[in-house]
């Protein structure tokens, strides 16, 4: 057992992945000497050399485009996009190439590329540093999308993402990078594409991922004081979604709230609400509710506490759900 921050757990996970497979490369802006702006790749270039930990020119399309070429040559690149809002210059290479080459080639060409993106707000940053772009990628066939919420998952999930033969968008909850937890590196991890109940409860199911899992957990603690029992599910995998635990939970609670930072319209909550309604219509006691970001651009940081779903907004949704 070691106590690790999420950032450190990612670092250790990447180190394991590089030790295990000499074809694993790390590439991105400032990932070498600096160790990345969040220090997730700290020390890796020193230990694995400049050929495997590559400080790239400052152009995101170039990072993903060359990673695709390296993957075609048999490498397993792990790309770091410095901040969520900087992934858009690479959008075409991700959506039109990375996601489609395996399909285009009728399964002949595999692109085991992992794209790590620190995502979400709450760090008081300037514009473009606090976004939640996951729905774009979930909407794109050919990509897999996961989000970790704690140090143990960070450690194992990043290794699983790197080992996967499909391209994976790996979302890291940047405002939680420094949260610590005990990590047992010797345990056998859950599969990558599994959702997990992280707090059992009876009255309302709350599904969240990434940085919002902490918010949902805090809401569950607060609700307990009012005698309400929330069941919290960490979705972990956004594409494919693993809704079996959610459906099983709804079978018991009859109520579901989905929480994410991304704008509510056509966010993950919309898809989850639709599927749960299709598959569990008669089990529901109330409509599936969404607690998400507003349908605005991400605001200036002095307003982000108003924008971001927090404990109170989750509890407000709990009230509305139970009022049905």
């Amino acid at each position: 057992m070691t106590t690790l921050t999420i950032a450190r757990a990612l670092n250790e996970g990447l180190r394991k992945a590089m030790e295990r497979d000499p074809k694993v490369l790390i590439m991105g802006e400032d990932v070498g000497k600096l160790g990345g702006v969040f220090r997730v790749t700290d020390g890796l270039q020193k230990d694995f050399g400049e050929d495997r930990v590559i400080d790239t020119p400052l152009a995101e399309s170039g990072i993903i485009g060359t990673a695709i070429g390296l993957a075609m040559r048999g490498y397993r690149p792990v790309c770091e996009i410095q901040f969520d809002g900087f992934v858009y210059p690479a959008f075409d290479q991700i959506v039109s190439q990375l996601a489609k080459v395996h399909y285009r080639s009728q399964g002949r060409v595999r692109l085991p590329v992992t794209i790590r993106i620190p995502f979400g707000g709450g760090i008081g940053a300037v514009e473009h540093h606090s976004e939640s772009p996951e729905a774009y990628f979930v909407h794109t066939a050919g990509l897999k999308v996961v989000a970790c919420s704690n140090a143990a998952d960070a450690f194992f999930m990043v290794q699983q993402a790197v080992a996967a033969d499909d391209p994976v968008i790996f979302l890291e909850p940047k405002r939680r990078y420094w949260e610590k937890a005990e990590v047992d590196q010797t345990q056998t991890p859950d599969p990558l594409h599994i959702a997990r109940i992280v707090r059992p409860g009876r009255d309302v199911t709350v599904a969240a991922y990434g940085p919002m899992v902490r918010v949902a957990m805090d809401a569950a603690s607060a609700a307990e004081d009012d005698g309400r029992s929330l069941e919290v599910i960490d979705l972990r995998t956004l594409s494919p979604l693993d809704l079996d635990p959610v459906l099983e939970s709804v079978e018991r609670t009859g109520r579901l709230i989905v929480v994410h930072e991304a704008p509510t319209t056509l966010g993950l909550g919309a898809e989850i609400a639709a599927r749960v309604t299709e598959q569990a219509f008669y089990l529901l006691e109330a409509p599936v509710l969404r607690v998400g970001g507003f349908d605005t651009p991400y605001p200036a940081s002095r307003m982000e506490e108003d924008y971001l779903p927090d404990l109170d907004r989750v509890l407000d949704a709990v009230d509305r759900s139970l009022a049905f």
Partner: protein, 376 residues
């Protein structure tokens, strides 16, 4: 106001006439020497280049006809660009890797790809049917310029492989329109700072659908390389010998650790952008007449005849072969089966997701319900 008012010189009226152009075979079929680029071929090799040119054109003509008859949804003709593609294609070694656009039918021919394999994409039965690893010829890329980054990354992989594989080189094809794309410019940056073994082969065919070259650039395209820190060269793109020599030299430089080269093959798109395009709306027929006189096949034929390396019986033999190739293409195209509906779910992922498998099964049952209904 004109550009000159800002101190910018007007573009040269026809750079192909200037001394900056590498040429080993004139439009009249006269063999000339160049101080930096020479080739020494056997008569057999000269004849084979001619054969490649003729067969490449025949593939293109036949595919265009198949589109006109409704057998293909669309076709992107390479008419006029045969020498650029055959010259560069024959400069490659089998282990070198090629990243084409969607118009590299002549390069595909040089790599040993059955022309029929090219048709699936244009007929709409697949997105590309050949195995990219088998002939080291990547699938056609339709988004303009994307493949230049893939080529550069692939070349960075070669650098990391070391050993015998480090002798491989990569060639990325693109056009004058693509030269404006961010990805192409980013690939130049990457190739330059990593000294990657990649050759950028730009077929400047003067037109990006309806937009002439001056909508893309103020300076000759090959000169852009200088700003990125690697050499650029302009070759007569209708001279198969010049293209062969220049590409060979660039590939050798890449192989020996000298990094990337930009080749601008100065040529002309004799046909429409694709069969859906109508060039009469934006360019003059007189331009075509000028370029007809620079035809890549006619000049090679003139050279072979005049030098005595080939006679009419050889030309007849090649025509014969072209006819047989056309018949093969036609027959294979018209008998190409439509894919089964459920195969549209194949290959989305290496590890299929439960959700997608469920969607496929549901669609399968839906389709079956029609059969059950009709068999009742």
């Amino acid at each position: 106001m004109t550009l000159a008012d800002f101190g910018v010189p007007a573009p040269p009226h026809d750079p192909s006439e200037g001394p900056e152009l590498v040429q080993l075979l004139t439009p009249e079929g006269e063999r000339v020497e160049h101080p930096n680029y020479s080739i020494d071929l056997t008569p057999q090799e000269y004849r084979e280049l001619y054969r490649d040119l003729v067969l490449t054109r025949r593939i293109d003509v036949e595919a265009t006809a198949l589109q006109r008859q409704g057998e293909l949804g669309i076709w992107a003709s390479l008419l006029g660009q045969e020498a650029a593609q055959v010259g560069s294609g024959r400069a490659l070694r089998p282990d070198d890797m090629v990243f084409p656009t969607y118009r590299e039918h002549g390069v595909a021919w040089c790599r040993g790809i059955d022309p029929v394999a090219l048709l699936g994409l244009y007929r709409g039965v697949d997105h590309g049917s050949w195995d990219p690893q088998e002939k080291n010829f990547a699938l056609y890329t339709i988004v303009i310029g994307s493949q230049t980054l893939h080529a550069t990354g692939y070349a960075m992989g070669i650098q990391r492989d070391g050993g015998k594989a480090a002798q491989n080189a990569v060639i990325a094809y693109f056009g004058d329109g693509a030269s404006s794309q961010g990805d192409v410019n980013e690939s130049f940056v990457w190739a330059s700072v990593f000294n990657a073994p990649v050759v950028f082969f730009c077929q400047n065919n003067q037109w990006a659908i309806s937009e002439p070259l001056e909508k893309q650039t103020r300076i000759p395209l090959y000169k852009r390389a200088h700003g990125f820190g690697f050499p650029g060269v302009r070759v007569d793109g209708n001279d198969v010998l010049g293209c062969l020599a220049v590409t060979r030299a660039a590939l050798d430089a890449a192989r020996t650790g000298q990094g990337p080269t930009l080749i601008e093959a100065f040529t002309y798109r004799m046909g429409a952008h694709t069969t859906s395009d109508d060039p009469t709306r934006y360019r003059l027929a007189s331009e075509l007449e000028v370029w007809k006189l620079r035809d890549p096949i006619e000049r090679m034929k003139a050279y072979l005849s005049r030098s005595g390396m080939a006679d009419s019986s050889y030309f007849h033999e090649v025509e014969q072969e072209a006819g047989e190739l056309a018949a093969h293409i036609r027959h294979s195209c018209t008998t190409m089966a439509d894919p089964e509906p459920l195969t549209l779910f194949d290959g989305v992922y290496v590890e299929p997701t439960p959700h997608l498998l469920r969607q496929r099964d549901e669609f399968g049952r839906y389709l079956d319900s029609f059969e059950e209904a009709s068999s009742r």
